[in-house]
Symmetry: C2
Subunit: 453 residues, 2 copies
């Protein structure tokens, strides 16, 4: 666990909080996404397991503290600050939406309530973890939606933003609905199914394509997938077909899939290999898959790399982590930010999911129910209480199942691959609106009245 994997300002603020005698203040921070990226109507929450792992194991080594001591920014910092870091433990609470849950703009994915410094330092790591994995799980869910039941495998590690990003991309893509990943470490660490057979270099390393295919059949048997486009895709398909069984299928990685796939299908069928599959790879994304599906192109499985592991049409999520309450000396104060376009709602929140809408209310608020209506689902659950994990988290298989089931009841307007305004109704509760209104009117330097964000 790299305790220094955070923005320096989290640590200068921590030093300042120690200096100001605010280490006893209890702060509540929420992690949420204000505006959703291009074409996204929902997000799939992911990354909680790594968030929990980080909070429970965050420690500062003597060497790390020594490094900080030597920085000019800490030359006035009180020595109590370095002692504080040496005994740092996360002793607070974490509430979170379960991994695999669809969420909407403004809904907290995580709530941290802890002594001010303990809640502040994790900001950067939590954003980079929950933000990235949620972005990838969302992209995966979109691609799986486009593939209409055909299998999708994540193949993007090589284009991921560093090797570790590839490991977590594999994890998040699985939660979002992929069948598995090519990332072996993702498989090893999380038990995710792993896929992969051979690359062009395999074919090129043999004097001929047919020798390369024969050797692959010997190694993989009924799992053999022949990559047929190293030299010429149709010739490659004929070579693969001539080997007969055992075979899983062939992989097309370039060229016009709409013409190649039916031709390859014909070659396989003519050789009596009707059950041999065609996998497509090569710069695919949900939009290209949509076109292939719409045109009934005979492809059985999609391998998606770059677009998935980097969420290439929306490569970042404007997730934020904002303080919403602070209690000093037993007195609670609600906080909000009023900068234009970046304002935030005060107070710790809960998300109530009804059959036809979500209501963002105050934590602990009782939702008034119309007569006979079902109780809403409450999205934010306690995960860590006073620094202790309440119970083991669901594993990736459970999170993936939860994602599939949680998405199911949403209308197609939400699941479409294109932006629909107000695809899902999200309201603020009266209690939350009142809190916000009170804070608004208490500001004496507001340049203009502000609307509910």
């Amino acid at each position: 666990m790299n305790a220094l994997s955070t923005d320096l300002y989290q640590l200068t603020m921590a030093a300042g909080y120690v200096q100001a005698g605010k280490t006893g203040d209890i702060a509540t921070f929420e992690l949420f996404v204000r505006h959703f990226p291009f074409n996204r109507n929902y997000l799939i929450a992911a990354g909680l397991e790594q968030v929990v792992d980080y909070l429970l194991n965050l420690r500062f080594t003597g060497e790390e503290i020594g490094y900080l001591r030597g920085l000019s920014q800490f030359k006035r910092a009180p020595s109590e600050f370095f002692e504080y870091l040496a005994r740092f433990r996360f002793t607070g609470d974490l509430f979170a939406v379960p991994e695999g849950t669809p969420v909407f703009p403004g809904e907290p994915l995580l709530t941290v309530r802890a002594p001010l410094v303990e809640a502040q330092i994790p900001e950067t790591y939590l954003l980079a973890t929950a933000g990235f994995q949620s972005m990838i799980a969302t992209k995966a869910a979109r691609i799986v939606e486009a593939a209409r039941g055909k299998s999708v495998v994540e193949f993007g590690t090589r284009r991921a933003h560093s090797p570790e990003a590839g490991v977590f991309a594999g994890r998040a893509a699985y939660i979002g609905g992929c069948q598995g990943t090519s990332n072996t470490e993702s498989g090893y660490r999380f038990g995710i199914p792993v896929f992969g057979t051979a690359a062009h270099s395999w074919v090129q390393s043999f004097p001929s394509e047919s020798q390369a295919f024969e050797q692959l059949q010997k190694l993989l048997g009924e799992a053999a997938v022949y990559l047929i486009d190293t030299y010429d895709s149709l010739q490659g398909a004929r070579t693969a077909a001539s080997l007969g069984r055992p075979i899983w299928g062939v992989r097309l990685d370039s060229g016009n899939m709409r013409e190649l796939a039916p031709a390859v299908r014909g070659i396989l069928d003519a050789a009596g290999l009707r059950d041999a599959k065609i996998m497509a790879t090569g710069d695919l994304d949900e939009y290209k898959i949509l076109e292939l599906i719409a045109n009934d192109v005979p492809i059985d499985s999609f391998g998606v790399g770059t677009a998935l592991a980097t969420s290439s049409d929306a490569p970042n999520l404007s997730a934020v982590y904002k303080i919403v309450e602070i209690a000093s000396n037993g007195e609670k104060r609600y906080t909000a930010k009023f900068s234009p376009d970046k304002n935030t709602m005060p107070g710790a929140k809960q998300v109530f999911r009804f059959a036809d809408r979500d209501v963002i209310g105050c934590q602990g608020e009782c939702m008034p129910l119309p007569r006979g209506a079902d109780e809403p689902e409450v999205l934010l659950r306690p995960i860590i209480v006073k620094g202790e994990l309440l119970e083991p988290l669901p594993d990736v298989h459970q999170a993936r199942k939860h994602c599939r089931e949680a998405l199911k009841p949403f209308p197609s307007l939400v699941k479409t691959l294109f932006t629909r305004e107000n695809a899902w109704r999200v309201e603020y509760s009266r209690e939350l609106a009142k809190l916000w209104g009170g804070l608004q009117s208490a500001r004496d330097f507001s340049p203009a009245p502000m609307e509910l964000p």
Copy 2:
């Protein structure tokens, strides 16, 4: 070092190479970028230190090998394969372009020559490392170019694709010309200057903005940067100015910089704080900085986050790692890939940089020189020979200096932020063209003659 941080197919191929008795084959692979992303005329090579670290330390643990043994893909793999992995060491050669060097399409950044399996397994990790860091170093160089000498600091860890991506983004951005990073781990691990003072939550955690600013001044003195937009930027500027010295300056994080910055400058100047600086942050990129610079907006320093750490306008680099030669039983064979749009040039290469152009030639080729012409710079240098590092690599400070100096002589047509076709002349040498031509004519199933890629 996670040996399993690779695509599964690297390992199935490795098993196949062992099975086929090809572990003695010596392969040469090259890592290069075929087509440059949006608006990029050059790339800055980066990530070599991590590539070297990986190659020299790649080992498979018993537990990792046990995991592979249990996968269905390896049920036919010979037991020699698992023994091979247990004693795996990289014993080959690595040639590389020094970090910070500008490169152009098709020019290898790295060349690996090693026994086939040793060269194959690293593919995924090398691409994710050198690809990502080169992408970020390039983005940084563009932003620094736009800022025309004003300082640029990397602030994007929270939006990076996982925390580790943030650490390497900080490193690569520094090589590309940033003054430093907010990522404390980047500072700790690589000695990069780190920056950061306080966030909105700092301001919000105090009952008033002025109390928050006073406390910050007490902590940071002449390094104090007041974030002034939590409630109202001009009021925040007045509060900061009223505190007088010591002060570094103020930070604007939202609103219209073109109106706010001059107004804030006026407030600081009126308070006699002419040397107090204005830093701008908040969704900046090279294009927005260009507009601010073009309009002489009084901003002294730029903090760039999301756009830099995710290279948001071009969030992936189509870097590839291709086999170009293979020697089996002492017989060398050149290899190339002929799939449409994805073809590759055969043979191990060298890049010769002349004053007015680059020539991609064969490794070891002697460039004919016009009378009196200067010797070209040779870009690919030996780094690892027979598994041993030749000499310590330049550190990040040297790489950053090299980047600045290496970019300097290039014409503005190369350094513009917008795509210019043929901004820099890159030619293939006659010897390389001959090699390619020979391979072309030797193919008996070529559907059509192909042009030099």
